[in-house]
Amino acid sequence: MVELLEHSHPAGTVRQVSPASLPVEIDERAARRSLREQIAKLEQELAAAFVAAYPRSGIDWTVGSRGGPRVLSLGELEQLRDDLAERLHAVRVALGERAEEEAQARALIECMLLEPARYKWVRVTNAHLGLTGCRSWHVRPRFGVIGMLMGWWRVKISSGCPLATGRGGRRGLPVNFSAPHGVVNSHGSP
């Protein structure tokens, strides 16, 4: 290559051109466009995961970003793409683990209903199933102490959240009375 360059110059004006000194123009546009598309796709998938995850709480959705609106550099775009991908992966792992726990909780409820005496005092709530609401499945003795002594166990299913009582409290009850969960508002089973 160097010889070739030397030949092209007139005698006496040989100029050495090293490849390193040649100006290199890198067209970032295609890379930037591709990164923006990847960011859009990841954001859409993260949004879909967010909607699917509802009402489960305690999952970290944040993908931090500092500064105001600007044209991001290639490095910043890459970093954002990587952060989004990492967050999406973490969210999917967390949701997978939750789904497994919820399946176990559902199986436990079935076992509790079949053999309450084997699961004394065990309680499963809607939160364990990844659901909203206050319903719970609680293995309790029938007739209190007598049931405990006699081995009469049953699953008591709370029907939902206690009704709002307003500032005045429930009629006939003290103002600050709070009904124990699953007692006032529950229907026994069987």
Binding site: R29, I39, E43, F50, T62, V63, G68, P69, R70, V71
Partner: protein
């Protein structure tokens, strides 16, 4: 003929460096010869009906809807975190859930809320007397300030802004320059909106039209 019927939508220019990065980013604006003021009962009723139609489930699922999602994606692409600085429609949805309703504030804010909730497209307003020439989107130059007042906050170089022919007037999706917003004395406003990739133009037009219609109704009521 009302302002909404005579609404003349114009497209602002987008600087070449911004356009190269976001070819679909468009600034749409229109001038309306109305001011803000107290909200008439009809608009308050409209807000109440809108509140009744808007539920928590919608707020959760919103980020999967095409238009709100397009703004979320754009936020990411310009370096904003839509979970920290919520997109306008998500911020309004959260406020609706916290307040229990879309609270009426004044005619302009109520008009902006109605247009935003109906279409998902955010709109902002300047006092037309404080705007010189056409609006554009560009990057802030070194040493520029947000607005023309002496105490105007400095802008970092490269910040994406909405500007008129003299100075930046608003950070993109952010605060308006002090002294350029709508006040009680405003008689003409410039409404503007930002269309990003994934948002159909008809949504932006619909948003501006809806906003102008509400402002019109308020103006006719109070005049």
């Amino acid at each position: 003929m009302g302002e909404a019927d005579a609404l003349e939508l114009r497209s602002g220019s987008v600087a070449a460096d911004v356009c190269e990065e976001f070819p679909e980013l468009t600034l749409v604006f229109a001038e309306v010869a109305v001011g803000s003021g107290r909200t008439p009962e009809e608009v308050k009723l409209q807000l109440r009906l809108l509140s009744d139609r808007f539920r928590g489930a919608q707020a959760i699922a919103m980020r999967q809807d095409a238009v709100p999602q397009a703004y979320r994606v754009f936020y990411r692409q310009v370096g904003l975190d839509p979970d920290a600085e919520r997109t306008p429609v998500e911020a309004t949805a959260v406020k609706r859930l916290l307040d229990g309703a879309f609270r009426s504030r004044n005619l302009l804010d109520d008009a902006l809320t109605i247009a935003l909730v109906e279409t998902g497209v955010p709109i902002w307003a300047f006092d037309a007397d404080a705007v010189d020439g056409d609006l554009s989107i560009r990057l802030a130059a070194p040493g520029e300030r947000l607005g023309r007042q002496e105490q105007a906050p400095p802008l970092p170089s490269g910040r994406m802004v909405v500007a008129d022919e003299r100075s930046p007037l608003a950070v993109l999706f952010g605060e308006l320059a002090p002294g350029h917003g709508v006040t009680d004395r405003t008689r003409r406003m410039v409404l503007f909106s930002l269309q990003v990739a994934g948002v159909p133009a008809i949504h932006v037009e619909e948003a501006l039209w809806a906003c102008a219609t509400v402002l019109d109704a308020g103006e006719l009521r109070t005049s």
